[in-house]
Symmetry: C2
C-alpha cells in the first residue's frame, strides 16, 4: 500500500506582505504531477491546508481545484485533517458529500475514533484540538495539556485498534524536541503545547503536520512531512518535500522523499552593495527569488533597497551588518547614562565604540587638555 504524506500547505499565506498563492499553485501542480506518476493508494494531508480560518477567496479556489484534480480526476483517495491554522467547521463544510469519492476530510475530534480503511491500512484522523475540547468530549477533567489530550485520545483508540493490521495516525501536533521555524504558530500560550513521541507507539506510522521542516524530529515511525513551501527566512536552508511511504501488511514500510521546489526560491544573501549590484554577480542566480539581503557596508548608503530591487525585484527584507554594531552602541550608551563617569572616561568609551581603534595614552592626554579648557571656558571648573 502506497501513500503520500504531505502537510502544512498554508494556502493564502502572506510572507513579508507578499501572497504566496501563485507559488503555491505552481508547487501544487508539481504535486498533482507526482500523484499522476506515482499513482498512490492514498494522499495524507496532516493539517493546515489554509493559513487562516478565513482564507482569501483565491486560496479557497486553489484548494478546491487541487483537491478535485487529485480526488476526482485522478481518482485518488484523500485523508485530511484540519490543523491549528484552519477553522475545523469552515474547512469541513460539505465533507459528508466528499466521502462518496473517498475524500475523508475530518475536522471533528469525535470522528477520530472511527478509522478510515483504505487498501488494508487503517487511518486514524485526529484534527488539531485544544485540550479543553478533548476534556469536554471525553468528560475527563484531568485533561489540561496537549500531552494529556493526545494520550487520552490514543487510549480510546487502543480500545478498538487491531494491532495485527497496519495503523496510521494522522495528526497535527508539536512533538517534544522538534525543531521549530518562524512560520509556525505556537500551540499553547504559557504551556509547552508539546506531546511526546512515545504516545504514538501503537501506530505503524504517524503522519504529522505542524512543524515546517521534514527533518523536524528524528524518529523511525513518527514524522513530519514539512510545509509545501518555505514560509520564513528561518527555513531558507531547508529542502521542502513530500514523503512517499510504501507500507507492508505487517506495518513495516519504506520511505522516499520527493522534493518540491517553486520557480522562486527563498534565500538569504550577504554582501557589499556594490558587489550585489554587479551584473555578473546577479547573472549567476535567479534574480526573482525571494531574498533577505544583509549588507556588509559601513557608513551611509543612498536608497539601497531601491537599487537592489531594480536587479532583484523580490527583496523582502533588507538588513545591515552595521546596524548590529549600532545596536551595540545603543546598549553601551544606555549603560553609560546609568553610571556616573568623568568626561574623559565617557569620551574614551565613545571613541572605542565609534572607531574600534585603541585610545592610546597620547590621545588620552590630548583629549584631557581639550576637555579641561572647554570646562574652564564654560565656567564649569
Amino acid at each position: 500500500m502506497k501513500f503520500i504524506h504531505t502537510a502544512d500547505w498554508h494556502l493564502g499565506k502572506l510572507v513579508h506582505g507578499v501572497y504566496m498563492t501563485d507559488d503555491q499553485r505552481e508547487v501544487l501542480q508539481q504535486f498533482v504531477k507526482l500523484v499522476e506518476e506515482e499513482k498512490p493508494d492514498a494522499i495524507v494531508i496532516a493539517g493546515d491546508l489554509y493559513d487562516r480560518s478565513v482564507p482569501p477567496t483565491d486560496a479557497v479556489r486553489l484548494l478546491d481545484e487541487t483537491l478535485f484534480k487529485l480526488n476526482i480526476d485522478l481518482k485518488t483517495p484523500i485523508v485530511a485533517i484540519s490543523g491549528n491554522h484552519d477553522s475545523a467547521e469552515r474547512l469541513s463544510f460539505g465533507s459528508s458529500w466528499y466521502q462518496h469519492s473517498q475524500f475523508y476530510l475530518n475536522g471533528n475530534i469525535e470522528a477520530s475514533f472511527r478509522p478510515v480503511h483504505i487498501n488494508g491500512v487503517n487511518f486514524y484522523l485526529v484534527p488539531y484540538a485544544e485540550p479543553g475540547t478533548v476534556r469536554q468530549l471525553l468528560g475527563d477533567d484531568s485533561i489540561h495539556s496537549h500531552q494529556d489530550a493526545m494520550k487520552s485520545l490514543i487510549g480510546k483508540m487502543e480500545e478498538t485498534i487491531n494491532p495485527n493490521e497496519p495503523n496510521v495516525l494522522v495528526g497535527h501536533a508539536f512533538v517534544l524536541g522538534g525543531q521549530t521555524s518562524d512560520s509556525e504558530r505556537t500551540l499553547s500560550v504559557g504551556g509547552s503545547g508539546c506531546v511526546t513521541a512515545d504516545l504514538f507507539a501503537p501506530f505503524s506510522y504517524t503522519a504529522l503536520g505542524h512543524l515546517h521542516s521534514p527533518d523536524a524530529i528524528k524518529h523511525d515511525t513518527v514524522r513530519y512531512a514539512g510545509s509545501l513551501l518555505k514560509y520564513s527566512f528561518s527555513e531558507a536552508k531547508q529542502k521542502k518535500s513530500v514523503s512517499i511511504i510504501e507500507m507492508n501488511d505487517n506495518g513495516s514500510f519504506d520511505i522516499r522523499e520527493h522534493s518540491l521546489a517553486p520557480k522562486q526560491d527563498m534565500r538569504e544573501v550577504e554582501g557589499y552593495l556594490e558587489e550585489l549590484l554587479d551584473p555578473s554577480f546577479a547573472e549567476g542566480q535567479n534574480h526573482l527569488d525571494y531574498l533577505k539581503i544583509t549588507l556588509l557596508d559601513d557608513g551611509s548608503l543612498i536608497d539601497p533597497m531601491g537599487k537592489l530591487r531594480q536587479l532583484y525585484p523580490n527583496v523582502l527584507h533588507l538588513d545591515r551588518k552595521i546596524e548590529q554594531t549600532d545596536l551595540k552602541r545603543k546598549i553601551a550608551f544606555q549603560a553609560v547614562k546609568e553610571e556616573k563617569k568623568s568626561e574623559l572616561d565617557l569620551f574614551e568609551q565613545f571613541y572605542k565604540e565609534m572607531t574600534e581603534a585603541e585610545f592610546t595614552e597620547d590621545k588620552k592626554s590630548a583629549m584631557a587638555d581639550i576637555i579641561q579648557s572647554v570646562l574652564k571656558e564654560e565656567g564649569l571648573k
Copy 2:
C-alpha cells in the same frame, strides 16, 4: 414535476443584536418535514443562504446539516445559487463533489448557460453578480446596469434554450416595482439595481430571491419565495412561506404556498406601560415573541425596558409616541433661540409644549409678576 421554491435563508443573521440561528434551525426542521411529506423532485434555493460572506460557524454547521438531510437522507435533488449576501467562492467550495448526488450549487455566472436537467425541467442557475462581472465575462462594454447584465445573460441563454420544454430561471435580483423591507441590502449604490420582469419572458417560471416578502411582486410567472423568517420589524405583518410548484410538460403550473412559522414570532405592539404589564394582557400572547413595543404614555417612566423585559424577555426595540412630541419640542426650541422673544413669550411657548394645556390669561398674569420680580432682584430691570 414538483419542486419547492425557497430563498433568503440568511443563516447567521443578527436582528437587533440577537442571533436568529435557533429560530432558523427550527424553521428548517419544519422545512425538512415538509420535504419528507411532499417528496418533491427538486428543491430550489434562490440565493442568500448565508447572511454574510463569512458567516458564524454555527450557521455553517446548520447549513451543512440541513442540506445533507435534504439531499442525502431524503435523496432530494437541490438547485441553489449564491445571492448578494453570500460569497460565491466560499459558498461553492466543494460544489463539484455535490453534483454526484444531484446537489447543484452555482456561484459561477459562466455556468448559468448550462442548465441543470431534473425530471424534464431545465433549471438555469444565475447567481447574483455585479454588472461589471457580467461585462467582463461577456466582453460587452455596453453592460452597465443590472438590467443590461440580466438582459445579456438571458440573451445568451436564448441561443440554446429549447422553448418546447419547461424552463425555469433561478435568480437573485430586484425586480422593478417590487416591495422592499428593511432587511434587504441595496444592490446598487447610485443606480436602481432593478431589472424588469419582462426579461424573464422566455421562462415558464422564474424562481427569485432577494426581496423578503412572498408577495413582493404581482406576476404570473416571476415570483419571490420570500425569506425564511421575518428579519426586520418592517416584515412583522408578512406571512413567510415556501412555494410548492407542480409543473406540467408544457410549462404551465399550479402553485401552493406552505407557511413556515418559528415558535417565536416577530411583532409590533403598541399600548400604555401599565396595560402591557397587566398579567391578563400578557397571558393572551406568546410572551417570548420578538417585540417592538411603542409606549403611548406621556411623561417620564422609570426603567420601562427593564419592567417590560420581566414579562416579555425578547423586547428588541422600545419606542415612545411621546418621543415624537419631544422631537417637535426640540425643533421649536431651536426656532425660539433664533428669534428674540420676551421672557414671558418664551415661557408661554415652553408651557404649551411641556403640558399641551392652554396658557390662560390668569396664568399669564401670574407668570408676568414672577418674571418681573426676579428680573428686579437680579438688577436686570
